[in-house]
Amino acid sequence: MSYLSAYPRLGQVALLCEGDVIGYETTLFQKWTGIELGNDPLVDIWCCGTSSCMLGISDAIGRSRPIFAIEDRDFRTVGEARDDCARIRNDRENRAVKIISWSIWNRCEIENYLLEPDVVLPVFRAAFGCTDDDIINALNEILPALALFQASQYVINRARRTWLLADPTSALLSQLRSRPEWKDKTIVVPNHETFRGGLELNCAAWRKQAQAIQCDAVADFDRKFDLWKDCHWHDDFWRSDWAGKEILHWLRVIMTSRFGWPNAESGNREALDWTMNREKRAAQDRPIEAALRPRLVDQFLSVLPSLAAEIREEFEKIKTAIKGYQP
């Protein structure tokens, strides 16, 4: 009994997700559970930063409260991710951790759901005083420019599934740049040939040291890049299969450089310059993301009942599982 009472929050259910304390998931889930479940049961949102931290926190609290965990799918297939979840659930339950569900977003990350036209367009339109076409045009610049980066992230995620003994990032992407840059008010894509050549060299070097690892990174990269390089607003795959966080970041970069952002002192809108290193760019982006985040989340929740059935069903499943949980 004392163990149960020692749980440091109020809720009857702990919902574990990735992200930070003011991240998209925490903000969205806190509001969504409040609206959909009210106090019955009262759900606490635990933002764990990363999926690996979700394991530790579930061990720490999972014998006092039932847990609903939801991970990013990242670049895994739905089938792969579900297999991973089943294994994790099994592991926890063998140690008496109470699990309602250990699941994944069907899309790559939570941010991907905010890229739905009914969410991203009204929020950015209101924030930047522009038209839908301005936003769509910006995305049509961003999407092909991000294809190489997204393909590189896909490769890393694939490698992580087979390279169990080491993080493949430093080996595969050593000295390589896959992220676009911002120069002269435009998005500059890294050279495809340079990246691919470097990837091939890195793969070969790594293969010498670890013969046992089957390295298909170059083939994986080629396949995805060919598929994704002409990505456009009207395509569907990027909303579910790409890292949505990066798309939203670049959308903020383009929109604030073209339509400006209110100066904190004067309140006047000024076009922002993003020609700076990654750390400085992240620092400049932070307050902008913070201001837009609640608007995106509120807009998502307000249009959720009219979004595509697959999205509604995803949320409905979470609600049903939590409400129907019987220990």
Partner: protein, 375 residues
């Protein structure tokens, strides 16, 4: 109306501070939460806003005494001497929406045709209130509630909109109810030091109550109990006007915040022919005077924001709502506030970790100092 910014000097705990109620994109937030340690001036911010606006908005507030010398923040100085006597100064940047301005124009034309509404470009007004009030050249002193200055200079009549609308509606000078709903006011929910008297109207027994019967009746009518009775009767007499079924609206909001507890409505029972507001929980029903203090707090918010007319486009100030409330209800209250009324601006002070976190996630938190200040 919306309050975009307030600058306060020498008021109670505050030497000087500026609080901005707009987000990074310049939009005034529907809810702003002021957090900080005891004595950081959270409540003083609410009181300063009320003291500055109570006169010009003709807002009768019994929960806040008129300002006096003790409200002036006096800095420590050698021997208590200061070259200039300090005075309180509150500067408010206020905006009236376009629809609200139209409604005020129409109402004032009907109710106070002699009162001239000045030009209000973009609906923006800067109002300054000072205390002690100015002394006229003839030695007389202005009432404390006079605004020291407005910019534009002739903006004062715009602040009379809501009270004029209520007076005009009550005396049937105009019939378009929608006008009333578009004009904002101000309302303060103080900390809970007199909950019983506000909710119950001090329903003492005849033996306990020394007040004359007429005063007693008026006190009861203005209590939450009286308001709920009035709204219930009003809803019954106008069942066709479903959007005006205030009792139903209060019920829905209460049930959303306080589930699984429910507000049933003002009911009459064979053992209670005078009737009472009833609540239900787990199969049992109980009247307002038996309700938990948390239930009384929530029902008071809902009743006061509905009567004498629903508060929309208004500035609602709530001082530490967490007193008496389970943290789960605080979470629900935070989510429900923007949905109570239309276009209201809520300014809430708190020590609640739940409210603090919820507001931080929404970029709606104003931190007024840390418990331990950094060196």
């Amino acid at each position: 109306m919306k309050l975009r910014k307030v600058r306060i000097e020498n008021f109670r705990a505050i030497k000087g501070t500026e609080v901005v109620f707009a987000d990074a994109l310049g939009a005034v937030r529907p809810v702003t939460v002021l957090a900080g340690p005891n004595g950081s001036g959270k409540t003083s911010v609410l009181f300063a806003i009320v003291q500055a606006l109570r006169g010009v908005m003709r807002y009768r507030v019994s929960d806040l005494a008129e300002p006096d010398e003790r409200d002036i923040h006096t800095p420590l100085s050698i021997g208590g001497l200061s070259p200039t006597p300090p005075f309180i100064s509150v500067t408010l940047d206020i905006e009236f929406g376009e629809e609200e301005r139209d409604a005020i124009r129409k109402v004032m034309a009907e109710v106070s045709p002699d009162e001239r509404l000045g030009n209000l470009p973009n609906g923006k007004v800067r109002a300054v209130w000072k205390y002690p009030p100015e002394r006229h050249p003839d030695g007389t002193i202005r009432p404390f509630w006079f605004l020291y200055r407005t910019d534009p200079w002739d903006a004062v009549p715009w602040f009379h909109g809501r009270q004029s609308a209520i007076a005009g509606w009550t005396s049937r000078k105009f019939r378009d109810r929608a006008l009333l709903d578009k004009i904002g006011g101000i309302y303060l929910f103080p900390q809970d030091r007199s909950l019983r008297s506000r909710v119950m109207g001090e329903r003492l027994t005849e033996d306990e109550d020394s007040a004359p019967p007429a005063d007693r009746k008026s006190r009861e009518r203005s209590s939450v109990w009286g308001v709920l009775e009035y709204l219930s009767n009003y809803s019954r007499s106008a069942p066709e006007a479903t959007e005006e079924n205030w009792e139903q609206r209060i019920r829905e909001s209460f049930n959303r915040i306080c589930a699984p507890k429910e507000y049933v409505g003002f009911m009459y029972r064979t053992d209670d022919p005078l009737g009472a507001p009833y609540f239900r929980d787990n199969g049992s029903t109980y009247p307002l005077d038996m309700a938990a203090s948390g239930e009384q707090v929530i029902i008071e918010y809902l009743a006061r924001l509905t009567h004498p007319s629903p508060m929309n486009h208004s500035i609602i100030l709530i001082d530490e709502p967490e007193i008496h409330l389970h943290p789960a209800w605080i979470r629900q209250l935070y989510l429900a506030l923007p949905k109570i009324g239309v276009g209201n601006q809520y300014i809430v002070t708190t020590h609640s970790a739940e409210l603090y976190a919820a507001a931080a996630r929404d970029q709606a938190l104003v931190e007024m100092g840390q418990l331990i200040e950094k060196a």
